[in-house]
Symmetry: C2
Subunit: 330 residues, 2 copies
C-alpha cells in the first residue's frame, strides 16, 4: 500500500498557524486530557552532549480523542550562536494514533514549541489569574517574553505591560516590540521588585539558575507563571514564594519536582504541602483554582508532551485545510 | 542562514545500503565505542498505547567520532496486518553532533533497524562463535531469521543451515529463501532440539514469551545469539542455559537485565554471576571472549541506540555518495 507523508517547513507552518485563541483552546484541551488520567506520557528522554555543549530532549504523549501523537525532538546547542545558528531548533513527527504510521514531518525549528509554550501560559492565566488584570509584567526579553504576553493578552486583555531583563537594551527592544504587537503601552522597568509590585500577572521566561523573583515581592492579587525552568539547575522563583503562595499549580507534578520551580522548593525543604494540583486538574475543575481576587497563585510550566501532540495535530489540520506542505511517497 | 535537510525514502535507502561487511564494520565500531565509556546513550523511551494495541520506542546515542547522532522512532502496532499495514515501521532522524541541526530524515519504515540488528548478530558471531562453523541454525521464520543468517554467513561462511519455526510452511519458505540467497543447502527442521544439536551457531529471532531453546540442548562448541527479546515479558532461552554457558554477553547490561534474556535469568534466581561483559567489551578486548572451540557462549541482543546512530550515519554517507534522496530547504 503506498503511503504518504506530509512535510511542512517552518515557513509553511508560520503561514498557517499563529498564536490565537484556537491554539490556546487545543492546548487547554490537552491539559484537561492530562487530568483524565487516560493520557500516556512517558518521562522526557534527555541526552546531554557535553563535547558540543548540547542537549537533546524528546517528548511525546498519546491523548485519547486525538487522531495522532507527536514525538518532538528539541536539540539545544548553546555554542551555535557563535557560528550564526540558533541554539534551539528541532522538529515534530506526527504519527497516526491508530496505526503508528508517520503522518507528517513538521520541520518547525522550534516554532510549534514556542506556540504551545505560550499557549500553556494563556491557559494558566485564564484559569488562575485574577479576573481583571490592569498591568502584566514579564521577566526576560527573548521570544517567550514576547509570546507569553501576547498569549496572556488573549485571555486577560490588560491595559499596559512592563518588561524587565538583565540587559536594559534588550528589555527596551522587547518593550517596543510588544507595544507594537499588542497596541498598548509597554515600558521597560529596570527594577524587578517594582515590576512585580505594579503587576497583577507576572510571567518569568528566563534560564535563571538563581531566583530572579523574591518571595518578599508577593502581594495580594498576584498571579505568577514561571515557564523558564525546564532543567535541573534552573530556578526563577525563590522557594519561599512557593511556600507562601495560596496556590501552587504544576503543569505536571512528576516533571516539576525534577525540572521546575518545585524542585528548588523541595530541595530547600520549604515545600511541605505534598503533591500539588496540576494545571489540567484546575482546567477540568477536579481541583479548586483561585477562590478570590486577593489570592497569590503560581503556575510552574516545564512543558509537556501532551502540548506537543496537541499543537502538532492542530498544525497538520490547519496545513491540510490551507493546502500547505509537500507530500513524500514512501 | 538557509538550511537543508536530506530526505531518503525506504526505496532510496534500499538502493544504496545493503547487508554487507561494511555495515557489519560500522556497527562493530559502535559496539567498540560503547565499551569506551564515552558514548552517551539514554534509556529507551517507551510508550504503550493499549487502545490501539501499539507501542512506540525511541532510541538514541551519541558516539564520539561520529558526525551525527540518530534518534530512532519505532512504532509497533500489532493490529496493522488486519488492515494490510505492517506492524513495524518508523524512521530515523539524523542530527549534526556539532550543532544539533537536522541533517537527514531517513523514512526507512524499519529497514535500517533490520540491517543494524542483523549486523549486531554478525558482530556477535565474529567475536564469540567458534572459528569454524559447519552448520548454522535459526529459530524463527521472519525477516530477521533471513537477515541474521545472511549476516552470520558474512563472518562465518558455514556449509549448510537449518530453520525451525512454529509454522512448518513458513519454516519451509524461509529455508527456500535462504538457500537461494546464500547458495548453500538450507533445510527446514521440525525438531528444535535436533536443530541445536546439529548446529555450532544458533540465532533465535522470535517474539517468544516462553523459552524455545532448552538448557539441556546446550553442547560443546555452541554459540547462541538471542535477538528476539527486546521487551519485558519476552524470553527465548531457558534461564538455566545462561547459568550453564561458559560465557554470557549482553549488548548492553542495563537493557538486557530489563528487556533481554538476562531479565528472565535474574528473575528466576538462576543468574548469580553479577554484571556480565558487554559485546563492546569483547570487541575491544577489554573482556575475554571465547577461549576454546569447546566452550558454550550466548550473546543477548536487545538493540542499542548506538547501532542506530552508526547505521544512520553510514546510510546518509552512502546516499550522498550515490546522489540519492531529495533535499528540503527549511
Amino acid at each position: 500500500m503506498p503511503r504518504e507523508v506530509t512535510v511542512l517547513t517552518e515557513a509553511e507552518l508560520r503561514r498557517v498557524i499563529h498564536l490565537d485563541l484556537n491554539v490556546v483552546e487545543v492546548v487547554e484541551k490537552a491539559f484537561a486530557a492530562l487530568a483524565s488520567g487516560k493520557v500516556v506520557m512517558p518521562p522526557i528522554m534527555s541526552m546531554a552532549i557535553p563535547e558540543a555543549n548540547g542537549e537533546v530532549d524528546v517528548k511525546t504523549a498519546w491523548i485519547p480523542g486525538f487522531e495522532g501523537f507527536a514525538i518532538k525532538v528539541s536539540p539545544g546547542f548553546l555554542d551555535n550562536p557563535r557560528i550564526g545558528l540558533p541554539s534551539l531548533n528541532g522538529l515534530m513527527i506526527l504519527f497516526s494514533a491508530k496505526t503508528g504510521m508517520v503522518d507528517a514531518l513538521l520541520l518547525d525549528n522550534g516554532y510549534l514549541t514556542d506556540l504551545r509554550t505560550a499557549a500553556a501560559g494563556a491557559v494558566a492565566a485564564k484559569h488562575l489569574a485574577p479576573a481583571t488584570i490592569d498591568t502584566a509584567g514579564v521577566m526576560g526579553t527573548g521570544v517567550q517574553a514576547r509570546l507569553q504576553l501576547q498569549a496572556a493578552h488573549l485571555v486577560r486583555p490588560f491595559r499596559q505591560a512592563l518588561v524587565w531583563g538583565r540587559d536594559p537594551a534588550r528589555a527596551q527592544a522587547c518593550a517596543i516590540d510588544l507595544a507594537a504587537t499588542l497596541g498598548i503601552p509597554v515600558r521597560a522597568e529596570a527594577d524587578p521588585a517594582r515590576l512585580v509590585a505594579e503587576s497583577q500577572l507576572v510571567v518569568t521566561t528566563t534560564p535563571a539558575e538563581e531566583p530572579i523573583l523574591k518571595a518578599e515581592w508577593l502581594h495580594p492579587g498576584l498571579h505568577i507563571t514561571a515557564m523558564g525552568s525546564d532543567q535541573q539547575g534552573k530556578n526563577e522563583i525563590e522557594p519561599a514564594a512557593l511556600a507562601a503562595a495560596d496556590l501552587y499549580v504544576a503543569d505536571r507534578v512528576s516533571q516539576c519536582e525534577k525540572l521546575g520551580e518545585l524542585r528548588s522548593a523541595i530541595t530547600s525543604g520549604l515545600w511541605t504541602r505534598g503533591a500539588p494540583p496540576e494545571l489540567g486538574d484546575i482546567v477540568s475543575r477536579k481541583s479548586t483554582g483561585r477562590t478570590s481576587d486577593a489570592q497569590v497563585t503560581i503556575c510552574d510550566l516545564t512543558g509537556t508532551g501532551a502540548q506537543d501532540t496537541a499543537i502538532a495535530t492542530f498544525a497538520l489540520a490547519a496545513a491540510r485545510a490551507a493546502g500547505a506542505g509537500s507530500v513524500i511517497a514512501t
